[in-house]
């Protein structure tokens, strides 16, 4: 023992350190415990219960009957389910691709110094804080066949469009409305990102003779990558979960072209009283959301910034 006094001392130190670490870990665990318990009660249990019910035939009035994987098998064979998957994909792409591009453009504009900049920033953000139900009702009136939007088109000799009654235009109408509603939120995110880019980078580029487009393409855009990754992930999550807009504006019609997956879950469970089948759709939706989140994490860790 006396031969290696230094090592003994070191061992004591490590022990003390690990004891401290253990104490810290316990403290951390205890601090996190209320949140963990809340999550387990209000998220974990409902998720497990949903998964459990997805293997049953359950109309909410009689006890569930075990069906095994039948709900999943019949779902994958159901053209209405695939129509909803398609409607969800169309809604996400049709809404959030233009939203992200528009939000970036607006952020670039609002990042410049000009008069009434604060007012414009507030105006663009206002729809974000409005209730989706209110927004959907307003746009439903705007899109009415004999409504203001078609009247405006009439001034340019354009024939009125059946915005909400046509299978072609109903998804477009929903995309326009959601873009208007959500562009402000993503603009704020991009604005924060732009304000975090040191001015020296752009100045260095300007000294090297870069054009405005080159400054944007090779300096601003790459430095905004973390924000873009976040914005894309959020868009996907918002898009997959959207329900109110379709419920209020089109009720999922015409002919089911706007019946997104979240609306299908509601319709199947509460309308058709097939809660087992509805929970199976929810589980599929859950898997999609988890996959998106994983993808987002991968993108974020792959980024250089």
């Amino acid at each position: 023992m006396t031969i290696f006094p230094g090592r003994r001392l070191k061992t004591n130190g490590v022990r003390r350190k690990s004891h401290l670490k253990r104490k810290e870990a316990w403290a951390g665990f205890l601090f996190a415990l209320p949140a963990v318990l809340m999550f387990a009660a209000f998220s974990g249990y409902p998720i497990l219960r949903t998964l459990y019910l997805s293997f049953f035939d359950y109309n909410m009035l009689t006890p569930p009957k075990f069906k095994g994987l039948e709900n999943y098998v019949s779902l994958f064979q159901d053209p209405l389910f695939w129509q909803s998957v398609r409607a969800t994909a169309v809604y996400i792409l049709g809404t959030y691709v233009p939203t992200i591009i528009l939000a970036l453009c607006l952020a670039l504009l609002l990042n410049r110094k000009f008069r009434l900049r604060g007012l414009f920033r507030t105006l663009y953000f206002t729809p974000v804080v409005m209730s989706m139900v209110v927004v959907a009702v307003i746009w439903k009136l705007l899109f009415f066949y004999q409504g203001p939007l078609n009247m405006l088109l009439g001034y340019f000799s354009i024939q009125p469009i059946q915005w909400l009654s046509s299978t072609t235009f109903a998804p477009v109408a929903l995309a326009v409305m959601t873009t208007w509603k959500s562009v402000g939120y993503f603009t704020v995110l991009y604005l924060a990102g732009l304000q975090g880019i040191p001015t020296e980078y752009r100045e260095a580029g300007m000294i090297d003779g870069a054009t405005g487009w080159q400054l944007f393409r090779f300096i601003t855009l790459p430095l905004l990558k973390p924000i873009t990754v976040f914005v894309v992930a959020m868009s996907l999550l918002f898009g997959v979960q959207e329900f109110t807009a379709q419920y209020v504006m089109t009720g999922g019609g015409p002919n089911g072209v706007t019946r997104v997956l979240a609306l299908l879950v509601y319709e199947t469970g509460f309308g058709f009283m097939k809660m087992g089948r509805a929970t199976a759709i929810s589980i599929i939706l859950f898997v999609i959301l988890v996959a998106i989140t994983m993808l987002q994490r991968r993108w974020l860790t792959a980024t250089d910034y």
Binding site: L80, Y145, G253, N255, E267
Partner: protein
């Protein structure tokens, strides 16, 4: 001293016991309905009168917004927190009957000795929608059939005689052509149109289908026959009005579920299909003075067909006070004159036609005529899915221009899939 305290304690205890037993003798029942303002007002009045007559029963009433009613009913019934009494649409009843969620009517609560006596007190066939295996589970709060409403002023303006209304769908199309007002290639006023709302697609299509002699389901209820010749002819009638005759069009409809008649009230439609309850919403509008209600047009007037639907008072299986609940339903259904006068609801309890209020009810002879031809259409525990498939087929054809045959073939496959699940 000790004895005195003991006496006081004993008296207090006895008093407490007496009060608590009195309190426990008073039962509370809960009652839920959808929201229809005139109905809600009368319900509140009747509850106050019922409680006065029956001090041992208290009624807690809740009117639930229309679009939340079925969801709220379903979730509450599944957790055993549903109401004792509720008012349910005939289209949804089958699911509740099939799930054993309701209890049969107790004849004694209505003052009858047995079910046969009770059954005999209502107009024949009107209890059918709420019956299963020979037992009655519901009492009608409203019984609806459709008739045609015409705007007499529009008729005169178009050179038509409102006293000679269309009797067939072919005649209706010809009248509608004359009534339609166009500006360029746009319609300013539609000669006739349906309601383009979820709850009305199956009603309107169902009437056309029934008149063609068709059905949605096969006789054994195991598959859909909606795409048969009758179904295609029925949808073709609607399709032609929009694409061939161009007297109707979903794009012009305001599609207001709180007031489906808004287009007619605004003067943008000259004829539409109405129900008795429509009177309650129409009679206070300026257009009422020009409105005339005439029998429903038929495909074949020699064999008239019309469909009925209704709402029924039912008592939940989880109710702890079924006797008191049915007693309350008896009270509600014992005032058909007030339901007719204040809410425009027809309650088909025998003898209702002799009431002065019935004789004064607008176009009573038309409604009675339609009731005489009426029957409930196909019913199924999967009605919500069937009705959604019909909506998609009508939308696909009427809004998307798809041929009726193809649209109904899609509906058939969707209904068959729903029946198999």
């Amino acid at each position: 001293m000790k004895a005195r305290v003991l006496r006081i304690l004993t008296v207090t205890l006895l008093l407490l016991l007496a009060v608590s037993s009195l309190a426990s003798a008073r039962v509370t029942i809960t009652y839920w309905t959808h929201t229809h303002p005139p109905m809600v007002d009368l319900t509140k009045e009747l509850i106050a009168e019922f409680e006065k007559e029956n001090p041992d029963i208290q009624v807690e009433y809740t009117a639930i917004p229309n679009n939340q009613f079925f969801t709220k009913m379903l979730t509450s019934m599944s957790t055993g927190t549903g109401p004792d009494v509720f008012n349910m649409s005939s289209t949804r009843i089958t699911a509740y009957l099939g799930s054993d969620a309701v209890v049969p009517v107790i004849p004694s609560a209505f003052g009858y000795k047995n079910q046969a006596e009770l059954e005999n007190a209502w107009v024949k066939g009107t209890l059918k929608a709420a019956s299963k295996d020979g037992k009655i589970y519901g009492i009608p709060s409203e019984y609806n059939v459709s008739a045609l409403v015409i705007n007499a002023a529009h008729f005169k303006e178009a050179g038509l005689n409102p006293n000679n209304p269309p009797r067939t769908w072919d005649e209706l199309k010809k009248h509608a052509e004359k009534l339609t007002v166009r500006k360029g290639n746009q319609i300013v006023r539609r000669g006739f149109d349906f309601f383009y709302l979820p709850n009305f697609y199956w009603l309107d299509f169902g009437v056309l289908l029934g008149q063609q002699g068709g059905h949605i389901l096969s006789a054994n209820g195991k598959e859909s026959v909606i795409n048969g010749e009758a179904g295609v002819k029925a949808l073709q009638t609607w399709y032609d009005m929009v694409y061939k005759d161009k007297v109707a069009g979903p794009q012009y409809s305001l599609k207001d579920s709180t007031n489906p008649m808004i287009d007619y009230v605004n003067g943008n439609v000259s004829m539409f299909l109405a129900y008795p309850w429509s009177i309650g919403l129409l009679k206070d509008t300026p257009v009422w003075k020009d409105s005339v209600i005439v029998p429903l047009p038929q495909m074949d007037p020699a064999h008239p067909v019309t469909h009925a639907y209704g709402y029924y008072w039912m008592v939940s299986k989880t109710s702890k006070h079924p006797e008191a609940s049915w007693k309350f339903v008896n009270f509600l259904s014992s005032h058909p004159e007030r339901w007719l006068k204040d809410v425009s609801f027809i309650q088909p309890r025998k003898g209702w036609t002799n009431l002065p209020e019935a004789k004064a009810f607008p176009y009573i002879e038309v409604w009675l005529g339609e009731m005489g031809k009426s029957s409930f259409g196909d019913m199924s525990p999967y009605w919500a899915e069937i009705s959604a498939a019909i909506q998609r087929a009508v939308e696909n054809s009427i809004m998307n221009g798809v041929a009726p045959k193809a649209a109904l073939a899609q509906a058939k496959s969707e209904i068959d899939a729903a029946l198999k699940q």
